[in-house]
Symmetry: C2
Subunit: 213 residues, 2 copies
């Protein structure tokens, strides 16, 4: 049964594999509704399914388009200079809800690491990466620690790494570079682990930026 699922001729699509994200975008301005609706209207959503509720906006599609979209949306909401925070959850490998029912075609999905054009908007961020399902195998556990270290090495190489802190890794730089780091770690860990989530909180134009490192 298990080997048979690996022999399906085509791998699952990102949608079948439960690839998607949620973003909660907050604008610290009494004009926030106009700013948020403007940012949503001007951000290219080609190839994505998008649904907004009263807590977050859900985005489904492939990793590259989801990551580009989130970077562009945060940048669009921030360009007027207001203080903006964004909490983003990326998930893959759990297309069901509580129990993760994977489609036929394999237990992992190998995807390219997203590449995002610079936005010109700089931010600070706190990031956590969770490889959730290693099927109880010590080899897989070693793989996922290797993936986490690789993700952090990539963050150092692209300049977004600041330091580790309680429960999170602190990042800074262009919103695009921060999201490349976050989505890159998520995609890389997903090469050996089925169910991977990652959470990042991004802060732009904070009045306390500069006062802290």
């Amino acid at each position: 049964m298990h080997t048979q699922t690996l022999t399906r001729s085509s791998p699952p699509t990102p949608r079948e594999f439960g690839v998607g994200a949620r973003i909660t975008l907050a604008v610290m301005s009494s004009d926030y509704i106009r700013i948020l609706l403007g940012a949503l209207a001007e951000t290219d959503a080609t190839g994505l399914d998008i649904e907004t509720d009263d807590v977050s906006t859900w985005i489904a599609g492939d990793e590259q388009r989801i990551t580009e979209y989130i970077a562009a949306l945060i940048a669009a909401a921030s360009r007027g200079g207001e203080h903006v925070t964004a909490s983003v959850l990326f998930s893959r490998g759990c297309p069901g809800e509580i129990s993760c029912e994977l489609p036929p075609g394999g237990t992992t999905l190998v995807s390219e690491v997203p590449s995002v054009p610079l936005t010109g908007v700089t931010a600070s961020a706190q990031w956590a990466l969770y490889p959730l399902d290693d099927h109880g195998s010590p080899e897989r556990e070693a793989d996922h620690m290797r993936d986490i270290y690789e993700a952090i090495d990539r963050a150092k190489a692209n300049g977004s790494y600041v330091r580790s802190d309680h429960y999170v890794t602190r990042l800074s730089g262009d919103v695009a570079t921060i999201l490349e780091t976050v989505a890159g770690g998520w995609v890389l860990a997903g090469r050996t682990v089925s169910h991977v989530t990652t959470h990042v909180t991004i802060s732009v134009n904070s009045p306390s930026a500069g006062a802290v490192r």
Copy 2:
């Protein structure tokens, strides 16, 4: 070595065990600085260590005090009627940063489920619970699925459960009840799993509340 660490006479304290939280609180008002500083000033921080940076506020102490504090802080920021969002991360069992170095005295910490007085402020929320380290044991994996189901049963019993959704469980009700559900799941999963994190995004006074379920 492993059994010896289990024979230490006293269990680790919550601080030694890395019990803590981060909250990013956003107020959708041009008066947000006054509202946030007012909420921080009026919320009782007895027994807690609190540090604010440009992305979030870090809170360390025991589970009961952390949970009470977060509920009171969100309620205080929301009472003026502004739209408020809060993204909260609770963590336990990873007192180091990337690698989780547990103190001597055991690999789990059994704590009481927090109980929080009602705030009178109602909210919607999206919640994810991550039992991260089951030491590669199938029995522990079964334990942690049992813990997640128990956490959801508790959310149904206290009335905060709405439904499962992509990657998250939707909750609603008094901010205190939502946080009891979230912190309760975190503490319960922590009885069998060392490293447990949970993330919740809470939305109060949303102009789109009522338009969606």
